[in-house]
């Protein structure tokens, strides 16, 4: 019996180690703000609030209101592309941009409004001479473009997520860091596997 308990404890311990290595998880990730003074030791509270007075605007009990009317510039040339642009970034994307647009905090990806987190960390390390541009989000998946794989094969891959058949931040990134990849990617990008899930190159 004692032996079994020891074995069980060891098993749980091993699982924890392996789990932290292989599956990642939000705890201990960059999205774990529980050690911040303002978070009151609450990992989820930075983004989600389980109890709110007004009806929730976003499905996963999104804490602050995302400004869904903001427009973002895009470096992609709509004329040169056969893909149709949607009505702008979707909800999931807007949630990300609430922090990642550079006006509120941390790492800005639109590259215009504020400073980059990384620049603050180590100024001069990254080159900032160029304006910077990002992979389009909030766009319909280009079903008809020959340069892309069929949407069915993307969905079947089980890695890249296309909410409402659109490309959003969450298509490539998992904010909960379940796979534990660099940049919180949904899957490993070794051999550019993530890119080539959609891009037929």
């Amino acid at each position: 019996m004692k032996k079994a308990i020891v074995l069980g404890v060891c098993l749980i311990f091993a699982c924890t180690i392996v789990g932290s290595l292989a599956w990642g998880g939000i705890e201990g990730s960059k999205h774990d703000f529980s050690n911040q003074a303002w978070s009151a030791d609450d990992t989820c509270g930075a983004c989600h609030s389980p109890h709110r007075k007004e009806p929730p605007k976003a499905a996963p009990l999104w804490e602050p209101d995302a400004d869904l009317t903001r427009r973002f510039g895009t470096s992609f040339d709509a004329a040169a592309s056969t893909q149709r642009y949607g009505s702008g970034p979707g909800r999931g994307t807007m949630m990300c941009l609430r922090c990642h647009d550079g006006t509120i905090a941390t790492d800005t990806l639109t590259g215009v409004k504020g400073q980059r987190f990384t620049n603050k960390l180590n100024p001069g390390l990254f080159r900032t001479s160029h304006g910077g541009s990002d992979h389009p989000v909030g766009v319909d998946y280009p079903r008809l473009d020959k340069g892309f794989r069929p949407i069915t094969s993307v969905v079947a891959s089980g890695t890249v997520v296309l909410p409402n058949a659109r490309v959003e931040c969450t298509s490539c990134h998992d904010p909960h860091n379940q796979s534990g990849q660099d940049f919180m990617l949904v899957t490993s990008n070794a051999r550019s596997a993530l890119c080539l899930t959609c891009h037929k190159k």
């Binding site: 470096s75 160029h130 891009h199």
Partner: protein, 597 residues
């Protein structure tokens, strides 16, 4: 043993599947896969991603395809050519992206997503010298950075309309040609990352529409290209002339001869590479090294397709008479009369000057090609024989309104020419190449190529033609003339009654009295210069006569005339002759026999 064979056979499909998976239909495993598991010698030491060398999902350059590299700031030497109608600028847009690696100046691992101090570590810092390194000299590469628009297609008749091209090859936003017009950096299925195969020049002729190319020898010949003499070590991409097409002579990148992207710096070497007996049927290289030849090695490099025949400096290149984009096999049988005057296979689509002196881009008659150099040009070749009437412009010599001329520019109606050998007759036309031709031409019973390439007999004559005084008459001595003019008829005095006396007895060559080309109407008249009479003044001297010191021939009727001159010490003053016997019965029977044959 049996079992192993079966298992091998069983493995075959697997092997095939594996081979297909490895084929370069995707960037993965192509030369552009620079990740550390990439197939080439140039790859990253630890980077596992493939796209990252050019693209980044975030913080990329503002250029469209999320570009992850800095554009080179190099100033490139751009392609220049006298025949280009396009305005070629510094490369822009997508081309610069390619050049950010392929000009050899920027570090391969230097990407925007990484700090300058920590580039991706590569097995080679920059692209190593070789075919992929285009350097900052783009003058030896196919031009890029020009607009391929309607205006260009209207000016340059040898390119296809841009709207037709853009259906197959992508042009830039404003219709510019970029690297990416021919190359798809993500797909190496066809080799060299080409969008359309270059076998049989398929990709080239998508844009370039050369006159006569499709039926030309260089587009259809199945001959193998091994044994080239000029660049024997340079490997051509394909085995046959047909498959190599344009690549036989042109190199699209890093061409040794920058202008027109040729394989050899010396113009003629591009031709002699194959036409030295190894690849092509005939050895032209041997022909042009003969005593009298259409070859001026010390004047190589003068030829320019944009040259003006009237002012160009003296030179002769293969491409002066042949259009390598349109040449076809020579199917003529014999030289005389069957050559005809109209241009055929080897001389199709070659520029020339017409009999009336107009430039033409597409000669109809062979002589039009000859007139380019031997006509009005200020640097035309001089003639050695000093004659009563001196004319070096062959175009004028062959005018059909001249008092007398060999019927090259058109037929002549002079019934006095009774010596003609059938099938030639009064009213026939001949060609320059009936007299000026390689002496060992196949159609003359020899083993060499047809055409006026080179001959032992000056000036590039197909047969011997002695012009020295006191030449003993023989069939050999005036073999050239006797090819058309019956020796028998001449020596029987059927026309000029003193032919035998002059030629045989006094050993006077034909050229002393006759000027083989013609007498220009602006210089001579039919009374003094009929029957191609234009005395060689090195042999025929003036003599004192009642009307002054002169050399003169006067035509006084059919087979009759008189001469005033001194020749071989003999003084003729109004020396008359008459009574050519006309066509003898023997000659007539011979002629009839010839006709029947």
């Amino acid at each position: 043993m049996k079992g192993s064979r079966i298992s091998l056979r069983g493995c075959l499909p697997l092997v095939l599947v594996a081979a297909t998976a490895l084929a370069d239909e995707s960037i993965v495993n192509s030369k552009h896969d620079l990740s550390f598991r990439g197939p080439g010698p140039i790859r990253a030491v630890d980077e596992t991603r493939i796209c990252i060398f050019c693209h980044a999902p975030h913080n990329a350059a503002p250029q469209t395809p999320l570009w992850n590299r800095e554009n080179p700031r190099t100033h490139y030497r751009i392609y220049e050519s006298s025949t280009t109608d396009a305005r070629i600028d510094q490369p822009g847009g997508p081309s610069k992206m390619c050049l950010s690696c392929h000009d050899g100046s920027m570090a391969l691992g230097n990407v925007l997503s990484r700090p300058l101090s920590h580039p991706i570590v590569m097995t080679a810092r920059t692209i190593p010298p070789g075919t992929a390194d285009l350097t900052n000299d783009l003058s030896d590469d196919h031009p890029i950075g020009f607009r391929y628009d309607r205006a260009l297609a209207n000016t340059d008749r040898q390119i296809r309309p841009p709207e037709v091209v853009s259906r197959e090859l992508p042009l830039g936003l404003h219709g510019e040609v970029h690297c990416t017009t021919c190359h798809d950096p993500h797909n190496n299925e066809l080799g060299d990352f080409l969008r359309i195969t270059d076998q049989m020049s398929a990709i080239c002729i998508t844009c370039h529409e050369m006159n006569g190319w499709r039926h030309g020898s260089h587009a259809t010949s199945r001959k193998r290209t091994t044994g080239r003499t000029v660049d024997p070590t340079e490997r051509l991409k394909y085995a046959s002339v047909r498959d190599n097409g344009c690549l036989n002579c042109h190199k699209i990148h890093s061409a040794p001869q920058h202008e027109r992207l040729l394989r050899a710096r010396r113009n003629e070497d591009n031709c002699l590479n194959c036409h030295s007996g190894a690849v092509a049927s005939f050895n032209i290289a041997a022909d042009i090294r003969k005593r009298s030849a259409h070859y001026l090695p010390f004047r190589s490099g003068i030829h320019d397709p944009a040259e003006v025949p009237f002012t160009m400096r003296r030179h002769v290149e293969c491409v002066d008479c042949h259009n390598p984009h349109a040449v076809q096999p020579n199917r003529i049988g014999a030289v005389r009369s069957t050559v005809g005057r109209t241009v055929r296979g080897p001389n199709l689509h070659v520029s020339g000057v017409t009999l009336s002196g107009r430039e033409t881009s597409d000669s109809t008659f062979l002589y039009e090609i000859c007139f380019k150099c031997h006509g009005d040009g200020t640097h035309r070749p001089r003639r050695q024989t000093r004659r009563q009437i001196s004319q070096t412009n062959t175009r004028l010599e062959f005018q059909t309104s001249n008092p007398s001329f060999h019927p090259v520019g058109g037929p002549r109606r002079n019934s006095d020419v009774v010596s003609l050998i059938s099938p030639l007759r009064v009213g026939s036309t001949i060609s320059c190449s009936d007299c000026h031709y390689s002496d060992n031409a196949r159609s003359m019973g020899g083993t060499g190529a047809n055409g006026p390439h080179g001959s032992l007999f000056e000036p590039l004559l197909v047969r011997n033609y002695d012009r020295d005084d006191f030449t003993p008459e023989s069939a050999q001595a005036y073999s050239l003339c006797y090819g058309c003019h019956s020796r028998e008829s001449l020596l029987n005095d059927e026309s000029f009654p003193l032919h035998r006396r002059h030629i045989v007895d006094l050993r006077t060559p034909c050229s002393v009295c006759h000027d083989a080309h013609g007498i220009y109407r602006g210089q001579g008249n039919s009374v003094n210069h009929g029957s191609l009479i234009n005395f060689d003044l090195s042999i025929v001297m003036p003599t004192d006569s009642p009307s002054g010191r002169r050399v003169e021939y006067v035509d006084t009727g059919r087979f009759a005339g008189n001469c005033t001159l001194t020749c071989h010490g003999q003084v003729h003053i109004n020396f008359p002759y008459s009574g050519g016997r006309g066509v003898s019965s023997r000659s007539v029977s011979l002629l009839r026999k010839g006709a029947r044959r």
